[in-house]
């Protein structure tokens, strides 16, 4: 008999019950559409902000690094046949993440034709920050989740598969890590290594693995107790083979899905740190950083009304909340689909 025939017939993922449950959830559709919107904005960032890049003189470093002249910027950045379009879209230089400044006036300027969403104190174009901030958000979210997931899988795998004393020790460490506030940890790291977006991401990854490790360990233990693992062992498979061929692939799925839904909350947390001044520096395209002076604008406006400079902080905070909402709607639907009982 052909060994291929012995494999049990498995439905593809898009026909599975889990996916059907997910698809029927209206909240999941709303979340997916919102997220799709953010992906498009992030992808098209150079094309969307091309007029600002062309008209604001302090955007010059970005254009120089892209190798495009100012008067050609708009047509080049919006033309998919031009190689500059792809360079700007796929691998923009770091200088493009600095919000271009139109003048240095400490007072914000309301929306105008040149600046559709206004200018914040210090001359930073709000719309530019929002659009490029979408890229920063995805970057921070995926990188932090990716790193902490990798560490979590390694440590949780060791803990669950070896068991015994090692397991016990690792679990105690995880308990301590989970109960230690992330903010204090970030504060320690930034005092030692200096604050900045990289420090924040490093610190969040160093804290974030603990939850994944604990979850993965649980799934490994559950998988290890199943009969097919006993069968593999009885057939004489080595522990390494049992782990890599039988336990690991069966235990990892749920973790990967649930972890990918954490991108939203990671971005919210990171922007909170930028808000406090521990993350991205002033002028960097990061939503949290853009709101960091909101308190001053609300309490200290000349006329004494809190909404004088609303465009400076309402837009970035809306972006943050919508981004979090998109991921949470999606995550909620995914969790429901995986565990229909709750």
């Amino acid at each position: 008999m052909n060994p291929q025939d012995m494999k049990p017939q498995r439905d593809p993922w898009y026909r599975s019950k889990t996916f059907k449950r997910f698809r029927r959830n209206p909240l999941a559709i709303v979340g997916s559409l919102l997220l799709l919107g953010f992906v498009i904005v992030a992808f098209m960032a150079p094309a969307i902000t091309a007029p600002q890049l062309a008209s604001i003189s302090s955007a010059r470093p970005c254009l120089r690094d892209l190798g495009v002249k100012r008067n050609e910027a708009v047509s080049a950045l919006r033309n998919p046949l031009n190689p500059v379009f792809w360079k700007a879209t796929l691998a923009p230089p770091q200088s493009c993440y600095n919000i271009p400044r139109d003048g240095f006036s400490p007072l914000p300027k309301p929306p105008s034709k040149k600046h559709p969403m206004g200018v914040s104190g210090g001359g930073y174009d709000v719309m530019y920050g929002l659009v490029w901030g979408t890229r920063t958000a995805f970057y921070v979210g995926f990188l932090v989740v990716g790193i902490s997931l990798t560490i979590g899988i390694i440590i949780g795998g060791i803990s669950g598969f070896i068991g015994g004393r090692t397991d016990n020790l690792i679990m105690r460490i995880i308990d301590v890590m989970l109960s230690f506030p992330r903010l204090v940890f970030v504060m320690i790291i930034s005092v030692i290594f200096g604050s900045g977006l990289t420090t924040v991401m490093l610190a969040m990854a160093l804290v974030g693995w603990a939850g994944y490790a604990r979850f993965f360990r649980g799934d490994i233990l559950r998988t290890k107790a199943q009969e097919f693992v006993d069968a593999a062992r009885a057939l004489g498979a080595s522990p390494l083979r049992v782990f890599s061929k039988h336990v690991f692939p069966n235990a990892i799925g749920t973790l990967l899905i649930l972890a990918s839904m954490d991108v939203g909350s990671i971005v919210l947390a990171a922007s909170g740190l930028s808000f406090l001044g521990l993350g991205a520096p002033v002028g960097y395209a990061d939503w949290g950083q853009m709101i960091s002076f909101a308190r001053g604008y609300i309490l200290g406006s000349a006329q004494g009304t809190p909404f004088d400079y609303w465009y400076v902080w309402v837009y970035p905070s809306m972006m943050l909340v919508l981004f979090g909402l998109a991921w949470n709607l999606l995550g909620d639907a995914v969790r429901d689909a995986l565990d229909p009982k709750s």
């Binding site: 790291i189 909350s265 609300i298």
Partner: protein, 341 residues
């Protein structure tokens, strides 16, 4: 039970030792000169860092350094904070009651609201109230504390002139500063009562409305979710059906039979909430201008004032370990099935 508590208490020093070692280990990334700045109070002392390095063994091996540092910490010498221009311990002593008061007032409404809504959602599953709780929970998850704080600051305080920020009305703070009002605990609401001045307490409460409101919306979501799902589990169990079959009123079944048991996971969550709450307290202090630990230590971290940050880290380690201990013991009291072996 007693053996468990004793054994758990004995574990506490071990955990604290590990935390202190971890924090000290991280400090090793700094140069001896930087660490000597911890103990320099004046410009003059900062000129003679060598003397400080020698005095505190900062140029010796790890173990000697660690034991010198630990001895100083245990004697209350946490160093000198540039941010507050005074020893770290003095600042902590002044600001801890402020943060504690805020945390206490934030904790209970959040817990109560979360449990209440979670119960309602489970009892009326798939009804309107359940949908509302669901949407509220997702919205709460998606609203970071600082964003909601800023919105409420603009709308409720800035526009509607409600409630007020800071700790209390200025005239009461002046009275505290002048000594007409005595400072017993450092918590305004309690000090007001101890001074026999209800107006002071009321002013303190008024200024707590915005922080508590912000935090309750953001943080009760998790409690709602957990309570709803554990309540649904319990409502489907046999003994609840038995209770119903006996003809007990629905209310008694729901509250006495179901919720009592559904609440157990909340104890774990409430323990974890502690760590989460500290973050919330820090953000809220900064947004609503409350002179607690966060309003001092976060700018301190930005200014690289590391004695302040190390002090906060040690304090957090202590608070978190003790909180975990309390949660463990509470767990045993609430659920006798959990054995302490």
């Amino acid at each position: 039970m007693t053996t468990f508590i004793v054994r758990r208490l004995l574990q506490l020093p071990v955990v604290l030792f590990a935390i202190s070692l971890l924090i000290f280990g991280m400090m090793q990334f700094l140069t001896p000169e930087q660490r000597a700045a911890t103990y320099a109070k004046t410009e003059q002392q900062a000129q003679h860092l060598d003397a400080i390095i020698r005095q505190y063994n900062l140029d010796k091996g790890f173990i000697v350094q660690y034991s010198t540092w630990l001895k100083e910490v245990l004697h209350g010498n946490l160093g000198f904070s540039k941010q507050s221009h005074e020893p770290v311990l003095d600042t902590i002593r002044k600001r801890l009651p402020v943060s504690t008061e805020l945390a206490i007032f934030m904790f209970f409404p959040t817990l109560a609201f979360g449990i209440w809504m979670g119960t309602l959602a489970a009892i009326h599953r798939d009804k309107l109230i359940d949908q509302f709780v669901r949407v509220f929970a997702i919205a709460g998850w998606s609203l970071p504390t600082f964003v909601l704080g800023i919105w409420l600051l603009a709308v409720l305080y800035g526009y509607l002139h409600c409630c007020g920020i800071g700790r209390a009305d200025d005239r009461y703070l002046v009275e505290f500063a002048q000594g007409t009002l005595r400072r017993y605990t450092g918590m305004i609401t309690i000090d007001g009562l101890l001074n026999g001045r209800l107006d002071v307490t009321l002013s303190g409460l008024k200024h707590l409305v915005l922080p508590v409101l912000t935090y309750t919306v953001v943080a009760s979501a998790q409690i709602m979710r957990v309570l709803r799902s554990s309540m649904l589990d319990v409502l489907n169990s046999d003994y609840v059906r038995t209770a119903r079959a006996k003809g007990l009123p629905e209310r008694v079944v729901n509250l006495k039979h179901a919720r009592r048991n559904a609440i157990i996971p909340i104890v774990t969550i409430a323990g974890l909430m502690f760590a989460f709450m500290l973050e919330g307290v820090f953000f809220i202090e900064i947004i609503f201008n409350i002179p607690g630990l966060g309003q001092w230590s976060v700018p301190a971290a930005v200014q690289l004032d590391f004695p302040a940050v190390i002090g906060i880290a040690l304090l957090t380690g202590l608070v978190v370990s003790v909180a975990n201990l309390i949660v463990d013991i509470l767990y045993g009291i609430i659920d006798p099935r959990i054995s302490f072996q």
